[in-house]
Symmetry: C2
Subunit: 143 residues, 2 copies
């Protein structure tokens, strides 16, 4: 479904949503370990998320990564698209170019509606909502 990189990006962003703030930034090491992702790898991903405005960062001592208040409103789909690109998520099960409901591929009817729903969910759900979901005990950590 998602690439590893996207999964890591989502985990890291959500981890920041739960554990960091502008006043309590997190250093790479303190993100990599709890979410179980190789440090050097997550570093690269965090850099790219930061460049794309999904997360914030400052350098130097007392620096680190965090979410600014508007970044809590990032939709999960925004992260997916920032990392994997849009095509991946919209592509047909058989990767046919012109598969759609008028011109359905042979597997279309087995998954189309459900994929639509999942995409809508990803498009509507924000990091803040997931954070609250976790904090209220409805889903579990660790990541």
């Amino acid at each position: 479904m998602f690439s590893n990189t996207t999964k890591y990006a989502i985990k890291a962003s959500l981890y920041l949503a739960i554990h960091s703030s502008k006043e309590a930034k997190l250093v790479i090491k303190d993100i990599a370990e709890p979410i179980n992702v190789p440090q050097a790898y997550i570093a690269k991903i965090l850099q790219s998320l930061s460049k794309k405005g999904i997360i914030s960062s400052t350098r130097g001592p007392k620096g680190g990564f965090y979410l600014s208040s508007n970044q809590f409103q990032t939709k999960i789909m925004d992260i997916v698209e920032a990392v994997d690109g849009e095509e991946r998520i919209n592509s047909c099960l058989l990767s046919l170019e012109k598969c759609n409901s008028e011109n359905p591929c042979s597997l279309h009817h087995l998954a189309y509606k459900e994929k639509q729903i999942i995409n809508t969910n990803l498009r509507l759900t924000t990091l803040e909502e997931l954070r609250n979901h976790v904090l209220s005990g409805k889903s579990v950590l660790p990541l």
Copy 2:
């Protein structure tokens, strides 16, 4: 969702379901072209499908690939599992080991039900059904 190899395997199997029979076997070249897959690559995939009993083959002149009558009852999921392995399809959105409804990961509720439905569809649908679906014009070729 699926790997390329799995998509190619499904396309090739379905192509055989539509165009071949024990009396009208198809040679690699006549499969590769219409489904738009590199010939040398599909050859390898067909070999492995044949070894796993998803499709049939005979060597020599007049040889080729085809489906035996019971192979029309192959479920799409059988092909997926034969190629990609079971984990891929059952894995959680974030690839957490122990994500399930009692211990849901943070994205679980965004996709679980829908993934279940898709999996059930793949588990129930046979090549024959897809073939009839195509032949009755409800989904389109080429693959």
